[in-house]
Amino acid sequence: MSEHNIHTTEEHGHEEHAGLDKKKIWQVFGILLVITIIEFIIALVIIPGHYMSQHVGNFVYIALTLLKAFYIVAYFMHLKYEKLGLQLSLTVTFIFILYFITLMLIEGGYLHLHMSAAA
Protein backbone atom coordinates (compact mmCIF):
# COMPACT_ATOMS: atom_id res chain seq x y z
CA MET A 1 0.00 0.00 0.00
CA SER A 2 2.76 2.41 0.91
CA GLU A 3 4.55 1.64 -2.34
CA HIS A 4 1.42 2.48 -4.22
CA ASN A 5 1.24 5.86 -2.48
CA ILE A 6 4.84 6.72 -3.32
CA HIS A 7 4.14 5.88 -6.91
CA THR A 8 1.14 8.21 -7.12
CA THR A 9 2.99 11.10 -5.47
CA GLU A 10 5.78 10.81 -8.00
CA GLU A 11 3.34 10.81 -10.85
CA HIS A 12 1.69 13.84 -9.37
CA GLY A 13 5.10 15.50 -9.11
CA HIS A 14 5.70 15.00 -12.81
CA GLU A 15 2.35 16.51 -13.63
CA GLU A 16 3.28 19.60 -11.68
CA HIS A 17 6.59 19.90 -13.54
CA ALA A 18 4.69 20.20 -16.80
CA GLY A 19 2.82 23.20 -15.36
CA LEU A 20 4.56 25.84 -17.47
CA ASP A 21 3.36 25.75 -21.06
CA LYS A 22 4.52 27.93 -23.95
CA LYS A 23 1.66 30.38 -23.55
CA LYS A 24 2.55 31.00 -19.90
CA ILE A 25 6.25 31.43 -20.78
CA TRP A 26 5.50 34.20 -23.30
CA GLN A 27 3.06 35.76 -20.84
CA VAL A 28 5.80 35.99 -18.18
CA PHE A 29 8.19 37.36 -20.80
CA GLY A 30 5.59 40.04 -21.61
CA ILE A 31 5.26 40.97 -17.94
CA LEU A 32 9.05 41.26 -17.54
CA LEU A 33 9.27 43.38 -20.68
CA VAL A 34 6.45 45.69 -19.56
CA ILE A 35 8.02 46.19 -16.11
CA THR A 36 11.38 47.04 -17.75
CA ILE A 37 9.67 49.51 -20.10
CA ILE A 38 7.95 51.16 -17.10
CA GLU A 39 11.38 51.51 -15.46
CA PHE A 40 12.69 53.23 -18.59
CA ILE A 41 9.73 55.58 -18.72
CA ILE A 42 10.34 56.54 -15.09
CA ALA A 43 14.07 57.07 -15.73
CA LEU A 44 13.74 58.98 -19.02
CA VAL A 45 10.44 60.86 -18.73
CA ILE A 46 8.92 60.96 -15.26
CA ILE A 47 11.98 61.84 -13.16
CA PRO A 48 13.57 64.33 -15.66
CA GLY A 49 10.14 65.98 -15.99
CA HIS A 50 9.95 66.38 -12.20
CA TYR A 51 6.73 64.41 -11.95
CA MET A 52 8.45 62.29 -9.32
CA SER A 53 11.50 62.93 -7.15
CA GLN A 54 14.58 60.72 -7.52
CA HIS A 55 14.07 59.64 -3.92
CA VAL A 56 10.55 58.29 -4.51
CA GLY A 57 11.70 56.91 -7.86
CA ASN A 58 14.35 54.79 -6.14
CA PHE A 59 11.72 53.06 -4.03
CA VAL A 60 9.60 52.45 -7.13
CA TYR A 61 12.64 50.97 -8.95
CA ILE A 62 13.35 48.62 -6.06
CA ALA A 63 9.69 47.51 -5.85
CA LEU A 64 9.60 46.86 -9.62
CA THR A 65 12.92 44.98 -9.41
CA LEU A 66 11.58 42.71 -6.67
CA LEU A 67 8.47 42.11 -8.76
CA LYS A 68 10.64 41.09 -11.73
CA ALA A 69 12.69 38.85 -9.43
CA PHE A 70 9.46 37.19 -8.28
CA TYR A 71 8.39 36.38 -11.84
CA ILE A 72 11.82 35.00 -12.78
CA VAL A 73 12.13 32.84 -9.66
CA ALA A 74 8.49 31.72 -9.48
CA TYR A 75 7.93 30.88 -13.16
CA PHE A 76 11.23 30.63 -15.05
CA MET A 77 12.97 28.89 -12.15
CA HIS A 78 9.77 26.98 -11.44
CA LEU A 79 9.81 27.61 -7.68
CA LYS A 80 6.07 28.28 -7.63
CA TYR A 81 5.43 24.65 -8.55
CA GLU A 82 7.86 23.16 -6.00
CA LYS A 83 6.97 21.88 -2.52
CA LEU A 84 6.44 24.43 0.25
CA GLY A 85 9.47 23.14 2.20
CA LEU A 86 11.85 23.93 -0.67
CA GLN A 87 10.21 27.30 -1.26
CA LEU A 88 10.60 28.29 2.38
CA SER A 89 14.18 27.06 2.73
CA LEU A 90 15.19 29.14 -0.30
CA THR A 91 13.33 32.36 0.55
CA VAL A 92 13.28 32.66 4.34
CA THR A 93 17.09 32.51 4.27
CA PHE A 94 17.09 36.04 2.85
CA ILE A 95 16.30 37.31 6.35
CA PHE A 96 20.10 37.38 6.73
CA ILE A 97 20.40 39.68 3.71
CA LEU A 98 17.68 41.99 5.05
CA TYR A 99 19.58 42.08 8.34
CA PHE A 100 22.81 42.89 6.48
CA ILE A 101 21.11 45.67 4.49
CA THR A 102 19.74 47.20 7.71
CA LEU A 103 23.16 47.06 9.35
CA MET A 104 24.88 48.69 6.39
CA LEU A 105 22.26 51.43 6.14
CA ILE A 106 22.71 52.30 9.83
CA GLU A 107 26.50 52.20 9.46
CA GLY A 108 26.36 54.16 6.19
CA GLY A 109 24.10 56.78 7.78
CA TYR A 110 26.57 57.22 10.64
CA LEU A 111 29.55 57.52 8.28
CA HIS A 112 27.64 59.92 6.06
CA LEU A 113 27.09 62.26 9.00
CA HIS A 114 30.63 62.04 10.36
CA MET A 115 32.83 61.70 7.28
CA SER A 116 31.19 63.94 4.68
CA ALA A 117 33.48 66.86 5.49
CA ALA A 118 36.64 64.79 4.94
CA ALA A 119 35.60 62.62 1.99
Binding site: M1, S2, V73, M77, E82, K83
Partner: protein, 244 residues
Protein backbone atom coordinates in the same frame (compact mmCIF):
# COMPACT_ATOMS: atom_id res chain seq x y z
CA UNK B 1 -7.72 -2.09 10.91
CA UNK B 2 -4.99 -4.44 12.13
CA UNK B 3 -1.79 -3.08 13.63
CA UNK B 4 0.35 -3.82 10.59
CA UNK B 5 -1.56 -1.58 8.20
CA UNK B 6 -1.61 1.17 10.83
CA UNK B 7 2.20 1.08 10.92
CA UNK B 8 2.12 1.26 7.16
CA UNK B 9 -0.08 4.33 7.30
CA UNK B 10 2.41 6.19 9.50
CA UNK B 11 5.17 5.73 6.93
CA UNK B 12 3.34 7.36 4.05
CA UNK B 13 3.76 11.04 4.97
CA UNK B 14 6.34 13.10 3.10
CA UNK B 15 8.80 13.44 5.98
CA UNK B 16 8.63 9.91 7.43
CA UNK B 17 11.59 8.73 5.38
CA UNK B 18 12.13 6.46 2.42
CA UNK B 19 11.46 9.13 -0.16
CA UNK B 20 12.48 12.63 -1.23
CA UNK B 21 10.20 14.92 0.80
CA UNK B 22 10.44 17.73 -1.76
CA UNK B 23 10.17 15.36 -4.76
CA UNK B 24 13.12 17.15 -6.31
CA UNK B 25 16.05 15.30 -7.80
CA UNK B 26 19.34 15.44 -5.86
CA UNK B 27 21.32 17.41 -8.45
CA UNK B 28 18.54 19.98 -8.72
CA UNK B 29 18.46 20.56 -4.95
CA UNK B 30 22.24 21.00 -4.98
CA UNK B 31 21.94 23.51 -7.84
CA UNK B 32 19.34 25.43 -5.83
CA UNK B 33 21.55 25.61 -2.77
CA UNK B 34 24.59 26.57 -4.83
CA UNK B 35 22.52 29.39 -6.30
CA UNK B 36 21.42 30.42 -2.81
CA UNK B 37 25.05 30.75 -1.73
CA UNK B 38 25.84 32.60 -4.96
CA UNK B 39 22.92 34.95 -4.27
CA UNK B 40 24.51 35.72 -0.91
CA UNK B 41 27.81 36.59 -2.61
CA UNK B 42 26.10 38.94 -5.08
CA UNK B 43 23.97 40.42 -2.29
CA UNK B 44 27.08 41.19 -0.27
CA UNK B 45 28.68 42.94 -3.22
CA UNK B 46 25.57 44.97 -3.97
CA UNK B 47 24.92 45.82 -0.31
CA UNK B 48 28.50 47.07 -0.07
CA UNK B 49 27.97 49.16 -3.21
CA UNK B 50 24.79 50.60 -1.67
CA UNK B 51 26.51 51.34 1.63
CA UNK B 52 29.38 53.16 -0.13
CA UNK B 53 26.99 55.19 -2.20
CA UNK B 54 24.86 56.01 0.81
CA UNK B 55 27.93 57.05 2.81
CA UNK B 56 29.48 59.37 0.24
CA UNK B 57 28.68 63.01 -0.02
CA UNK B 58 28.35 62.72 -3.81
CA UNK B 59 28.25 59.95 -6.42
CA UNK B 60 28.62 59.83 -10.24
CA UNK B 61 25.26 60.26 -11.98
CA UNK B 62 24.53 57.05 -13.97
CA UNK B 63 22.69 59.00 -16.68
CA UNK B 64 25.89 61.00 -17.26
CA UNK B 65 28.28 58.02 -17.07
CA UNK B 66 26.30 55.60 -19.23
CA UNK B 67 24.99 57.64 -22.14
CA UNK B 68 26.69 56.20 -25.19
CA UNK B 69 25.74 53.53 -27.71
CA UNK B 70 29.10 52.10 -28.84
CA UNK B 71 29.65 52.65 -32.55
CA UNK B 72 26.53 54.77 -33.01
CA UNK B 73 26.29 57.63 -30.57
CA UNK B 74 28.92 58.91 -28.17
CA UNK B 75 26.62 60.75 -25.80
CA UNK B 76 23.06 61.85 -25.15
CA UNK B 77 21.46 58.40 -25.09
CA UNK B 78 21.28 57.34 -21.45
CA UNK B 79 20.09 53.79 -20.71
CA UNK B 80 19.57 52.82 -24.35
CA UNK B 81 22.55 50.46 -24.63
CA UNK B 82 22.02 48.87 -21.22
CA UNK B 83 18.35 48.51 -22.13
CA UNK B 84 19.42 46.47 -25.13
CA UNK B 85 21.65 44.32 -22.89
CA UNK B 86 18.75 43.75 -20.48
CA UNK B 87 16.47 42.77 -23.33
CA UNK B 88 19.05 40.31 -24.71
CA UNK B 89 19.43 38.62 -21.33
CA UNK B 90 15.68 38.37 -20.65
CA UNK B 91 15.24 37.02 -24.18
CA UNK B 92 17.89 34.35 -23.65
CA UNK B 93 16.17 33.41 -20.40
CA UNK B 94 12.98 32.84 -22.37
CA UNK B 95 14.73 30.65 -24.95
CA UNK B 96 16.27 28.67 -22.06
CA UNK B 97 12.88 28.05 -20.45
CA UNK B 98 11.55 27.02 -23.88
CA UNK B 99 14.42 24.50 -24.09
CA UNK B 100 13.38 23.12 -20.69
CA UNK B 101 9.78 22.92 -21.88
CA UNK B 102 10.87 21.06 -25.02
CA UNK B 103 12.90 18.74 -22.75
CA UNK B 104 9.74 17.80 -20.86
CA UNK B 105 8.28 16.64 -24.14
CA UNK B 106 11.63 14.91 -24.95
CA UNK B 107 11.77 16.69 -28.27
CA UNK B 108 15.49 16.59 -28.99
CA UNK B 109 15.31 18.77 -32.09
CA UNK B 110 13.54 21.64 -30.29
CA UNK B 111 15.90 21.43 -27.29
CA UNK B 112 18.87 21.79 -29.65
CA UNK B 113 17.28 24.80 -31.38
CA UNK B 114 16.43 26.67 -28.20
CA UNK B 115 19.82 25.89 -26.64
CA UNK B 116 21.58 27.36 -29.69
CA UNK B 117 19.41 30.48 -29.36
CA UNK B 118 20.30 30.73 -25.65
CA UNK B 119 24.02 30.44 -26.39
CA UNK B 120 23.79 33.14 -29.08
CA UNK B 121 22.01 35.39 -26.55
CA UNK B 122 24.76 34.76 -24.01
CA UNK B 123 27.49 35.68 -26.50
CA UNK B 124 25.59 38.81 -27.55
CA UNK B 125 25.34 39.93 -23.93
CA UNK B 126 29.06 39.29 -23.36
CA UNK B 127 29.87 41.26 -26.52
CA UNK B 128 27.80 44.22 -25.30
CA UNK B 129 29.49 44.07 -21.93
CA UNK B 130 32.90 44.07 -23.59
CA UNK B 131 31.91 47.22 -25.52
CA UNK B 132 30.62 48.86 -22.33
CA UNK B 133 33.86 48.09 -20.48
CA UNK B 134 35.98 49.33 -23.38
CA UNK B 135 34.03 52.56 -23.49
CA UNK B 136 34.45 53.24 -19.76
CA UNK B 137 38.11 52.25 -19.94
CA UNK B 138 38.69 54.77 -22.74
CA UNK B 139 37.10 57.43 -20.58
CA UNK B 140 39.72 56.68 -17.94
CA UNK B 141 37.85 54.43 -15.50
CA UNK B 142 39.48 51.19 -14.38
CA UNK B 143 40.35 49.42 -11.14
CA UNK B 144 42.45 52.02 -9.33
CA UNK B 145 42.11 54.59 -12.14
CA UNK B 146 39.77 57.53 -12.68
CA UNK B 147 39.78 60.27 -15.34
CA UNK B 148 41.57 63.55 -14.59
CA UNK B 149 39.43 65.88 -12.47
CA UNK B 150 38.42 68.06 -15.44
CA UNK B 151 36.98 65.01 -17.18
CA UNK B 152 35.63 63.44 -14.01
CA UNK B 153 33.53 66.53 -13.28
CA UNK B 154 31.30 65.80 -16.26
CA UNK B 155 29.98 62.65 -14.56
CA UNK B 156 28.60 64.48 -11.53
CA UNK B 157 25.57 66.62 -10.97
CA UNK B 158 26.52 70.14 -12.23
CA UNK B 159 25.54 71.76 -8.91
CA UNK B 160 28.13 69.57 -7.15
CA UNK B 161 30.79 69.63 -9.88
CA UNK B 162 30.90 73.43 -10.11
CA UNK B 163 32.18 73.83 -6.54
CA UNK B 164 35.99 73.53 -6.32
CA UNK B 165 35.82 72.33 -2.69
CA UNK B 166 34.02 69.16 -3.87
CA UNK B 167 36.95 67.90 -5.95
CA UNK B 168 38.36 65.59 -3.26
CA UNK B 169 34.93 64.05 -2.62
CA UNK B 170 34.39 63.50 -6.37
CA UNK B 171 37.76 61.73 -6.67
CA UNK B 172 36.99 59.38 -3.78
CA UNK B 173 33.49 58.43 -4.88
CA UNK B 174 34.52 58.28 -8.56
CA UNK B 175 37.20 55.75 -7.65
CA UNK B 176 34.81 53.70 -5.50
CA UNK B 177 32.30 53.75 -8.33
CA UNK B 178 34.89 52.52 -10.86
CA UNK B 179 36.22 49.74 -8.60
CA UNK B 180 32.75 48.47 -7.71
CA UNK B 181 31.41 48.75 -11.26
CA UNK B 182 34.20 46.62 -12.74
CA UNK B 183 34.18 44.16 -9.83
CA UNK B 184 30.43 43.55 -9.76
CA UNK B 185 29.69 43.58 -13.50
CA UNK B 186 32.91 41.60 -13.97
CA UNK B 187 31.78 38.95 -11.48
CA UNK B 188 28.40 38.84 -13.20
CA UNK B 189 30.02 38.65 -16.65
CA UNK B 190 32.15 35.77 -15.40
CA UNK B 191 28.94 33.99 -14.43
CA UNK B 192 27.47 34.64 -17.88
CA UNK B 193 30.65 33.33 -19.48
CA UNK B 194 30.64 30.11 -17.43
CA UNK B 195 26.91 29.79 -18.14
CA UNK B 196 27.60 29.96 -21.88
CA UNK B 197 30.31 27.29 -21.51
CA UNK B 198 27.97 24.97 -19.57
CA UNK B 199 25.23 25.62 -22.13
CA UNK B 200 27.66 24.61 -24.91
CA UNK B 201 28.51 21.40 -23.02
CA UNK B 202 24.87 20.35 -22.57
CA UNK B 203 24.13 21.33 -26.18
CA UNK B 204 26.84 18.86 -27.19
CA UNK B 205 25.36 16.22 -24.87
CA UNK B 206 21.89 16.78 -26.34
CA UNK B 207 23.17 16.44 -29.90
CA UNK B 208 25.02 13.26 -28.92
CA UNK B 209 21.75 11.85 -27.60
CA UNK B 210 23.00 11.47 -24.00
CA UNK B 211 19.75 12.73 -22.49
CA UNK B 212 17.66 10.73 -24.95
CA UNK B 213 19.38 7.55 -23.75
CA UNK B 214 18.94 8.64 -20.13
CA UNK B 215 15.21 9.01 -20.74
CA UNK B 216 14.96 12.53 -19.30
CA UNK B 217 16.27 16.06 -19.87
CA UNK B 218 16.75 16.97 -16.17
CA UNK B 219 20.24 18.32 -16.90
CA UNK B 220 18.69 21.03 -19.10
CA UNK B 221 16.51 22.04 -16.12
CA UNK B 222 19.49 22.26 -13.76
CA UNK B 223 21.58 24.33 -16.15
CA UNK B 224 18.42 26.35 -16.84
CA UNK B 225 18.21 27.24 -13.15
CA UNK B 226 21.76 28.58 -13.30
CA UNK B 227 21.04 30.57 -16.45
CA UNK B 228 17.89 32.16 -14.98
CA UNK B 229 19.85 33.03 -11.88
CA UNK B 230 22.37 34.94 -14.01
CA UNK B 231 19.44 36.85 -15.51
CA UNK B 232 18.05 37.47 -12.01
CA UNK B 233 21.35 38.95 -10.83
CA UNK B 234 21.44 41.24 -13.87
CA UNK B 235 17.99 42.58 -12.95
CA UNK B 236 19.46 43.76 -9.64
CA UNK B 237 22.76 45.01 -11.09
CA UNK B 238 20.79 46.97 -13.70
CA UNK B 239 18.63 48.62 -11.02
CA UNK B 240 21.40 49.58 -8.64
CA UNK B 241 24.02 50.70 -11.16
CA UNK B 242 21.92 52.24 -13.90
CA UNK B 243 18.58 53.32 -12.47
CA UNK B 244 18.94 54.31 -8.80
Amino acid sequence: MDSLSQLDQVKTTAWSGGRSPWSVEYGKIMMWFFLLSDAFTFSSLLVYYGAQRFTKFTWPDPDLVFQSIPGIKDSGAPLVFVGLMTFILIMSSVTMVLAVEAGHRRSKKEVVGWMIATIIGGFMFLGCQALEWTHLHHEGFWWGHIPAIEELKHFFDPSVASVAANEAAMKVSGQQFANLFFTITGFHGFHVFSGVLINCIILGMTINGTFERRGHYLMIEKVGLYWHFVDLVWVFVFTFFYLV
